[in-house]
Amino acid sequence: MTRFVSAVAAGLATLVVGAAGAQAAETLDTVKERGEVSCGVTTGLAGFSMPDQSGTWSGIDVDFCRAVAAAVLGDASKVRFVPLTAKERFTALQSGEIDILSRVTTWTFTRDTSLGLNFVGTTFYDGQGFMVNKDLGVSSAKDLDGASICVGAGTTTELNLADYFRIQGMDYNPVVFAAISETAQGFESGRCDVLTSDQSQLYAIRSKLEDPSSAVVLPEVISKEPLGPVVRQGDDAWFNVVKWVLFAQLNAEELGVTSDNIEEMTGSDNPSIKRLVGTDGDMGEKLGLSADWAANIIAQVGNYGEMFERNVGMDSPLEIARGLNALWSEGGIQYAPPVR
């Protein structure tokens, strides 16, 4: 009897220890073995990650995960999307439920240093703004003294909001919701005068209102919000892969390589392009990937500019201008180290 109990206890303990041990293993190998990238996204935010009627996800965050799958597995469709609320996201990544968190997550000091996570880069440079009902006749955020403000729980937005109103010496009533859809509903039902979020999200939420023209986005941008993918700390191989997927997309745009011309570009004589698409050098091998890793990304998902325009840019319902997200050579701040 005792022997049985101790055997069971020992078994359980190994299970706990074993499970924890397996997680710390190299994510890249795990992903290759599983044949699927597990990607944490929002529960639904137009332009960033949103499922359609048939359950197919689309958005810039979604496309980034597809690009990682294309690079690692050679097939952009091998992604499992895990919808997460803002509250759940870091725990899901820490616990190993997902391999990448690509969920409009702002890169901040505390998150980078104390969560055991690493930010890979910035897929979207954003800033926090305010959206108000047009009927209120407000034209500046400075007129918002005493307003009720709908905001998402567990976001940097909540802190920036507090800072902004404190600096301006104004009062406000925060109404905090767990999910984006409820935040939007709170605003639409008139519970709040103002909805605050990253500007891109404001446009996304506005495009989904019953009457999008009833709301206006105020001009003030009160914070820096670099949004980017996140991976677990201490797994450098995987960190490098995800980081260079983003850089490859940026370099591809800079070099003019698109999903349309990738076929002819593989025959290009330009040494930069040759290194990128894998006809020269052993770049893929150094990452632990196949030689055509970047070519797969570009062929199946596209370069950064294509990804941007398709999901949030002028070709999309959100109609967000490139602005800061243009390449450094075109007046923006998107800049990638060279593939060399």
């Binding site: 009897m1 005792t2 109990v5 101790s6 206890a9 359980l12 303990a13 706990v16 220890v17 924890a20 710390a24 803002a86 509250k87 870091f90 725990t91 820490q94 505390t110 998150r111 104390s114 969560l115 055991g116 209120l136 918002l144 003294d145 005493g146 307003a147 009720s148 729980a153 567990g154 976001t155 909540e158 802190l159 909001l161 507090a162 800072d163 109103f165 404190r166 406000y172 009533n173 925060p174 109404v175 905090v176 919701f177 767990a178 409820e182 509903q185 709170g186 039902s189 008139g190 519970r191 005068d193 677990r232 700390q233 201490g234």
Partner: protein, 395 residues
């Protein structure tokens, strides 16, 4: 001087053949294994978090929180600590649970008695109410009260105005706030004294009736004492009370007291949902009292109300209390659904925003769970004490 040889005590069975020893040994071993198991999990968690560079410890409780909270019973602003957000959330949870329990009990008792009413209409109405509310998920009911009802209430600029300076709009229910001067405490003191006096009077009257059979109109007299005396003092010291009436300023009303819609929706949903369960518990408790008791009380000439109040309910209470306790526990735990509609309870404020800003999931979740366990055990304890007081005493 040789001692006479003491005969050896009769040799009992070997210790491992002794059932007592064996039972104790098994329990000790099982306990040790359990402790070792939990220690391993605990240690594993700490080691793994450390090896991955995740911050641990409770130091974060002293850091500045930096976010606002919609509604707080104690003074709070962005410069306070995470520790204080914990207290704010805890108090908000206690507030909604406490008021929920109070009103769910009142409504539940009314429902339970109405269910048994000989009046067909009242009985069926109670039945329909109970069947509807207890068969719809609570979260849907919360959303119903919050989104469906809220949408029909006008915005602040078209507020519904009630007499005496109260306003209703989709930001909440605004009522005038009493502003008391220091001399108002005399009135409060008189009120307290009047209650003590009334209790003493009621005891005296009961005692007298028990011993001499003579009755004294104790209820009307004590009621007059409790209401009249404070009013008299209030009038004598010159009405030291003004009202802060809410006024529309800018976006919202300022001044007065405010009940936020999140609170109203959560409280209504919790109360109405739990009341339907309590109603059924009360009904079953009453029906469990032998019908002979009612007949006997009627034979003694008690009216229906009297027989219910003096004979049936005291006996039914013994059956009602244990399941009632678990309804109270359910209501308290269900209050954590607040997070769906943005009422700043413990789960929303502490396990939501604070957790996300600090990222210390293990500590915060553990603290939150400990709080719910503590609240639930306290409620159980109080109810058990009460149960012991009303339980059948065998003499």
């Amino acid at each position: 001087m040789a001692e006479p040889a003491v005969p050896a005590p009769p040799q009992g069975p070997a210790p491992w053949r002794n059932p007592r020893v064996r039972a104790v040994a098994f329990q000790v071993v099982a306990l040790l294994l359990l402790l070792w198991f939990f220690w391993t999990i605990f240690n594993n968690t700490l080691t793994n978090m450390e090896s991955r560079g995740i911050t641990t410890g409770f130091g974060f409780l002293d850091n500045t929180a930096g976010f606002g909270i919609l509604f707080s019973l104690i003074p709070y602003d962005e410069t306070n600590t995470y520790g204080r957000t914990f207290v704010v959330g805890l108090l908000n949870t206690l507030l909604v649970s406490g008021l929920g329990i109070l009103f769910a009990t009142i409504i539940g008792f009314i429902l339970g008695i109405a269910r048994l009413s000989p009046n067909w209409l009242i009985g069926k109405m109670a039945l329909v109410y109970i069947e509807i509310t207890r068969n719809i998920p609570l979260l849907l009911q919360i959303f119903f009260w919050y989104f469906a009802v809220l949408r029909t209430v006008p915005g602040p600029r078209e507020s519904v105005e009630f007499p005496l300076g109260a306003f209703l709009n989709n930001r909440g229910l605004y009522v005038p706030a009493p502003q008391v001067e220091s001399s108002f405490w005399f009135v409060v003191a008189t009120f307290g004294a009047a209650i003590v006096g009334a209790v003493a009077l009621l005891r005296w009257a009961k005692n007298r009736q028990d011993t001499t059979g003579r009755r004294f109109p104790a209820w009307p007299v004590s009621l007059a004492m409790v209401v009249g005396l404070p009013l008299l003092v209030f009038w004598i010291i010159g009405a030291p009370l003004t009202w802060d009436i809410p006024e529309l300023k800018g976006f919202n009303f300022k001044g007065g007291m405010r009940l936020i819609p999140e609170f109203i929706a959560l409280w209504l949903a919790l109360t109405l949902y739990t009341a339907s369960f309590i109603g059924e518990i009360v009904r079953s408790g009453i029906q469990a009292v032998s019908h002979g008791q009612t007949e006997a009380s009627q034979a003694l000439g008690l009216k229906r109300g009297q027989s219910l109040r003096l004979i049936v309910i005291p006996q039914a209470m013994r059956i009602i209390i244990p399941p009632l306790t678990s309804q109270y526990l359910n209501l308290t735990k269900n209050s954590s659904l607040a997070t769906a509609i943005g009422y700043p309870d413990l789960v929303s404020v502490f396990m939501g925003t604070s957790l996300n800003q600090t990222g210390q999931a293990v500590e915060i979740v553990a603290m939150t769970m400990a709080v719910y366990v503590a609240i639930s055990l306290t409620i159980s304890l109080l109810m058990n004490l009460y149960n012991r007081a009303v339980a059948l005493k065998e003499r």
